[in-house]
């Protein structure tokens, strides 16, 4: 039984209890959210060592980190090192986007070693296997695709990105749209190529029930992919993107009918003043399904700094109601991220998530900032480092720049302006 079906049956599962505990909310609140679909708890019955996390309405904004091999970098050990960084840096979920080396083996090891939810994009592997076995990605059959989906799900993957919303109808829309960057989603491009070559409907759409049956079996959460997400600011929030979102909204309904948990993926590259509209229209079209956004990046011109462009957009998106932020690393648009990039990307996204949680009124969010403010006021450096979102980084910079650990100020002696101000305000003196 999926979390959703259990919730509807009035059952508060162990996972719901754990999520409630982590969020500081009542288990009943979580149960209701899962029952109606505004909260998802990706928790595959075969992911044994998962410590479940909830995503959605009323919960803390969550952060995902992508890892995975590529055709040029096939070493799974490197990716397992990244997984350690991902866990240590505090991401809430990890996606294995491997497209090189022993993909099955790598995924199984990632699931084994991950205590956080693991997501994948099965279509990558399905296309790759066809290229390798039959010399052509286009040779893929619907059966091939669903076989890979089931392989991922039976392995214990907690959520899968499936580009179900790219239909022949939607492709007509993009043709009329005239975009600069057309389709930038990898899975979306592959599928589109397949559909156009064969002149057939997207099997993930046409056989959506088959997908739901697999998800039901393992309680895999659908992450309905936005294959037509904008690849640049100029393409944002266009008719093709919103048409696909409408289809995804319909599929959310279908998933819920069957008791399958579903969230929806979103952009991408979006100008700052279109972000709120993107979130609000997703919430209405998809009837409150959790929204998982990639960025959004607020400018196209900052390769090398896209963790920052994404943190800007991510904060505004989450404050407007986005539930789950996919990290972007400084290497985005340039190459595969290093360990340091992964860490930096997670921190930038966690900052965005937290800054938004303050605005969302998430219990405890502003309290963290207040504690830091009090530690600053008291010049309590140990406490400041402890409270920092990245204590390791804060301690390092502090140590480098202030090797002697000066805490108090000896500059003005008895004529300390700070002391005078503090006395006036009836407080303990501080230093400048």
């Amino acid at each position: 039984m999926t979390q959703m079906l259990a919730a509807r049956a009035g059952e508060i599962t162990t996972a719901m209890k754990r999520v409630a505990e982590k969020e500081g909310l009542s288990p009943e609140f979580i149960r209701q959210g899962v029952a109606e679909g505004s909260i998802v708890i990706p928790a595959n019955i075969n992911h044994r060592n998962l410590d479940p996390v909830g995503f959605g309405k009323g919960l803390k904004t969550k952060v995902n980190a992508n890892i995975g091999t590529s055709t040029s970098f096939t070493d799974i050990e490197k990716e397992l090192e990244k997984l350690k960084v991902v866990l240590e840096a505090g991401a809430d979920a990890v996606m294995d986007l491997s497209t090189g080396g022993e993909i099955d083996q790598g995924r199984r090891r990632i699931i084994e070693e991950s205590t956080i939810a693991v997501g994948t994009v099965p279509i990558y592997q399905s296309f790759l296997e066809n290229r390798n076995k039959r010399g052509s990605m286009i040779a893929m059959t619907a059966d091939d695709l669903f076989e890979v989906v089931e392989r991922h799900c039976s392995d214990g993957v907690d959520f899968i990105t499936v580009h179900c919303g790219i239909t022949l109808e939607v492709l007509e829309r993009i043709k009329k749209q005239s975009r600069i960057t057309d389709i930038v989603s990898r899975g979306g491009s592959f599928l589109t190529g397949w559909m156009l070559h064969h002149g057939k409907e997207n099997p993930l759409y046409e056989q959506f029930d088959r997908l739901l049956d697999i998800c039901l079996k393992y309680d895999v959460t659908l992450s309905l992919g936005d294959g037509l997400r904008p690849g640049c600011l100029a393409d944002a929030t266009d008719r093709a993107q919103i048409q696909e979102l409408i289809i995804l909204g319909e599929l959310v309904d279908k998933a819920r009918e069957k008791g399958v948990q579903a969230m929806v993926e979103g952009p991408g590259h979006v100008p700052l003043d279109q972000i709120r509209a993107n979130i609000e229209v997703q919430k209405t079209l998809c009837k409150g399904a959790p929204f998982y956004v990639l960025g959004p990046l607020v400018t196209d011109v900052a390769p090398g700094y896209d963790h920052i462009t994404a943190a800007i957009g991510g904060t505004v998106a989450a404050a407007a109601g986005a539930d789950f932020l996919c990290y972007v690393t400084p290497a985005e648009h340039l190459g595969l991220p290093t360990l340091e990039d992964v860490r930096e990307g997670i921190m930038a996204s966690r900052i965005a998530a937290h800054a938004a949680d303050i605005v969302k009124g998430i219990p405890g969010a502003l309290e963290w900032d207040k504690k830091m403010a009090r530690a600053r006021k008291a010049l309590d450096w140990d406490e400041q480092i402890k409270l920092a979102i990245d204590p390791q980084r804060a301690a390092k910079i502090r140590q480098e720049r202030n090797p002697d650990g000066h805490e108090a100020c000896t500059m003005c002696g008895d004529f300390c302006a700070m002391k005078i101000v503090a006395q006036y305000l009836g407080k303990e003196p501080e230093s400048c």
Copy 2:
């Protein structure tokens, strides 16, 4: 004659022409903005090698970088190295906040070597000189202070931060307010200590006309400092802060009456959902004076990443109408920035400024992103690097991760999905 008086006399100065040229706007638009005070062009008559920049309504959002010695790090040569980075990284203004070593000499060299506007905070030096000469900062007299102000102005400083809005009335407000971090502005704290010790009104307020006379003489732009800016999210947008802003608004009127250019400084630490209100209330209270904000930082908990917390707030602030962003480096709250921190801070602020300029509809802003999008679509790496906000960084990452410089894709040969998509859309084929 100041730029403002010239503008009012109908004169289009060389500086106005240069600003118009840089902005792609008409000289008459600039003249009108300067005449009414919605645009300032900080351009001291003694700053010989200045290439003037405008700040304000209808213009690109600008970025300031702070440099300067401290009591622990007194080497001016290091700060001159930072100035080189500041110029190379594309900041629009630089503030010399030196409080250590040979302050006069350092400032003069910075002005000499800076082609961008130079700002200072004269009160730091005035207090320090009193501490050094008389053993007490509190010993400062109003005459001492104005003497230092004139010294800075006659040296060629283009804009000065003066905390004129901290009045005895405002201090009553902060006493009633009950803040966590009270006063975090250095100049603000010193002045407050001085005022409370002597039981006297702030000389920068009481003798504001004297300040205006000095500014008139050299055409120095006032940057009316926010001595009571919030030092943490919990203190943001409180009565003390807004009370000071009201006073600053009155002083903007006075400055304009005399023909002195004035901008206003703003916070600080502000939750995301209070940023727009901060900008809008400044624009009404200060009758459209350019707004120069420090950040704002959208969370207190990210020391080591405050260039990111500031970029988030800065984007939203600038999109709402802020004109000028003071950079924040990764070392903020931890120590003095290194050269790398300075560079990183400027880039983060430039990203914020540009992302906001797209939303502000600044001519050419979105066009830059479109060019990048087209270069991405065409897989034109040279063009992508050239168009990057930091070509040096983008090239470095690209080179490290892709040493062979692969441009085309050989993965799928004739069955390239991209090719099929491109053909369908009637475009040139691309690669995945």
